[in-house]
């Protein structure tokens, strides 16, 4: 009983438990290296699959890729997207998005819309600095989204040209289709 008391007493006197608890902290004290980024002055290298701001893309000839199929709208879990599709005025039977809205205040950046897009018209950029004073500025229209795409994706996909003009976009009957060459 006495020896037990002594052992306890020594441990108490030397703050043994405290040291035990601080073991990890103390061991790092010696190999110090700062991990905080001085954000506005320093920026982090983003992983290549970073899911940032959404953008609408164009083909290399400047035409919009979006065919207004509403599948992104259907895929979106938080109802960010609203597409108003219509027939291209000069080209009967061809579909496009007359209006395209994204309410980025609600976006989860889950990327489901990008996955759902059958023509790869949506892309996720590496942009993330979208703090604004007015929330309404995060309600983006088609022109804004295309502009985001233009500045983030300077290299555009080549437009597939072996389809018949009357078959809207998807008359691709080959497995060995010409690869989507990136110029």
């Amino acid at each position: 009983m006495g020896s037990m008391n002594l052992k306890e007493w020594v441990k108490t006197l030397t703050f043994y438990e405290l040291l035990l608890g601080m073991k990890a902290t103390l061991s790092h004290l010696l190999k110090y290296k700062p991990i905080t980024l001085q954000y506005p002055h320093e920026k982090k290298q983003l992983p290549s699959n970073y899911r940032g701001m959404l953008a609408l893309l164009r083909y290399d000839d400047g035409t919009e890729k979006c065919v207004g199929c509403d599948l992104c709208e259907a895929a979106c879990p938080s109802r960010v997207i609203r597409v108003v599709s219509a027939e291209v005025p000069e080209e009967p039977a061809k579909r496009y998005s007359k209006e395209y809205y994204m309410d980025m205040t609600r976006c989860l950046f889950c990327g489901l819309c990008v996955k759902a897009c059958p023509v790869d018209a949506l892309g996720m950029t590496q942009e993330y600095e979208w703090a604004v004073y007015d929330k309404r500025q995060l309600h983006l229209n088609k022109q804004q989204l295309l502009a985001i795409g233009d500045r983030n994706f300077p290299v555009r996909e080549k437009r597939l040209e072996f389809q018949h003009p009357n078959v809207a976009y998807f008359n691709v009957g080959f497995k060995e289709i010409p690869q989507k060459d990136v110029e």
């Binding site: 072996f162 080959f174 060995e176 010409p178």
Partner: protein, 435 residues
């Protein structure tokens, strides 16, 4: 070459025979019709034809007497007879000769058939391209009408038998009996689904018999000489009588030959047809028109009757024997036939409509040395899924050539594909396929 007694071609083999009514009567024509109208009852005629074991000469080989027997006897309203003269099978050209050279023979047969089944109106549905044949038939009908063999009050018996000649508009499928009826009704020439069969719901939904030209031409002879006589010729009990076979291809003497059923192919090709055109040996032959699967030299001793050819894995069909010598590409032959079937598929049933274009494109690719691994398996599977899945027999017909060449000459396909694989161009060129 041995001579065989001919029945159908007998008249036209006579020198100077013009096929006119005068010539036909001189050769004993229209005696059968006189006899039938005077002495016999319709049932007796049908019985006689049943006794003769005559089988349809159009392709399916259905017993003619039995077919007539299906016509309801007490049906109120009209019944019809249609003579199927839409002979469009590649490699078959017998009906054309029968119609152009001896039209009265078949008209007499039709008149007797009308009497037997109780029809007053009958039609000859003649292939649109047979302009001459249609003209000759039309003239023959007028002649016969003027002579009292046709029209109202035939031979003074008070019976009405009218024959109308109707030209098709150039569709192979209209040789199929229900498509023929649709076309005759003025509709789009596409097969109907059966049942109901034409025997009860045929032309204008009335009982109808559809018979081939050669079948019709046999009837007067059976009536003249009796069913038993006919049943004694050829290879009884199932394939009786003579048959006109159309020989074409790499032989010395292509043409129409009337021979008794049951002759071996070897005898027909080498004796009757004079053997191969060049010194190259026979590689393959089609025994019964384009829709019959190919046979090989090992089948040369097969007898030319319905059962034996079926046993060998093909069919006697319309009797068009096409012979191919060594050196002929079987892939090319299959492709050529397939292109025909692609062009002629009516487009009603999905498997045949889409399958024919698919098969043609694959074969074209293989032939153009752009075949791929797996094409042959795909061909096999497509063929399996077209045959038996369609309304009419066209589905079976179009895959016959491919399946048989795949069976006997698979190595030729494989060679072309191997070649394609070796020389596959690096640029991803798209094969061009024009309709």
């Amino acid at each position: 070459m041995a001579q065989y007694e001919t029945i159908l071609l007998k008249n036209m083999e006579q020198p100077g025979y013009s096929g006119s009514l005068e010539d036909y009567e001189r050769a004993g024509g229209y005696q059968a019709l006189r006899k039938v109208l005077k002495d016999m009852q319709p049932d007796q005629v049908i019985e006689e034809v049943k006794k003769s074991s005559l089988r349809g000469r159009g392709g399916a080989g259905f017993p003619t007497g039995v077919k007539w027997g299906f016509i309801p006897k007490d049906h109120p309203g009209p019944k019809y007879l249609c003579c199927n003269a839409d002979e469009s099978e590649p490699g078959t050209f017998k009906d054309r000769q029968l119609m152009e050279r001896d039209p009265h023979q078949m008209l007499e047969g039709m008149a007797i058939t009308c009497f037997a089944i109780g029809a007053e109106t009958s039609y000859v549905y003649i292939r649109g391209e047979f302009r001459l044949g249609a003209k000759i038939l039309e003239k023959a009908v007028q002649e016969a009408k003027a002579a009292g063999y046709l029209g109202e009050n035939v031979l003074g018996t008070g019976r009405t038998i009218n024959i109308f000649v109707h030209a098709g508009a150039g569709a192979y499928i209209c040789g199929e009996e229900t498509a023929l009826l649709e076309s005759l009704e003025g509709k789009r020439g596409q097969p109907r689904f059966k049942p109901p069969f034409p025997a009860t719901h045929g032309l204008y939904q009335k009982p109808t018999v559809v018979n081939n030209v050669e079948t019709m031409a046999n009837i007067p002879h059976i009536m003249n000489k009796g069913g038993e006589w006919f049943a004694g010729i050829g290879s009884p009990p199932k394939s009786c009588g003579t048959r006109i076979f159309c020989l074409s291809g790499h032989v010395n003497r292509p043409g129409n030959y009337e021979v008794p059923m049951g002759m071996p192919f070897r005898e027909f090709i080498y004796d009757v047809g004079g053997g191969m055109r060049s010194d190259k040996p026979l590689k393959a032959f089609i025994p019964g028109g384009a829709s019959a699967p190919f046979l090989t030299p090992e089948h040369l001793d097969v007898k030319m009757d319905f059962e034996a050819v079926a046993m060998a894995g093909s069919m006697l069909g319309s009797g068009g024997v096409t012979v191919m010598e060594e050196g002929t590409s079987m892939v090319w032959a299959a492709l050529r036939l397939m292109e025909f079937f692609y062009h002629e598929s009516c487009g009603k049933c999905t498997p045949c409509r889409e399958g024919s274009s698919w098969l043609t494109q694959i074969l074209q690719r293989i032939w153009n040395k752009q075949g791929r691994q797996g094409d042959l398996d795909l061909l096999d599977e497509l063929c399996k899924n077209i045959a038996g899945r369609t309304i009419c027999a066209f589905g079976e017909a179009e895959v016959g050539p491919i399946q048989s060449t795949l069976k006997y000459f698979r190595h030729e396909y494989e060679e072309l594909i191997r070649e394609a694989e070796a020389t596959r161009p690096q640029s991803k060129e798209i094969p061009v396929f024009t309709h």
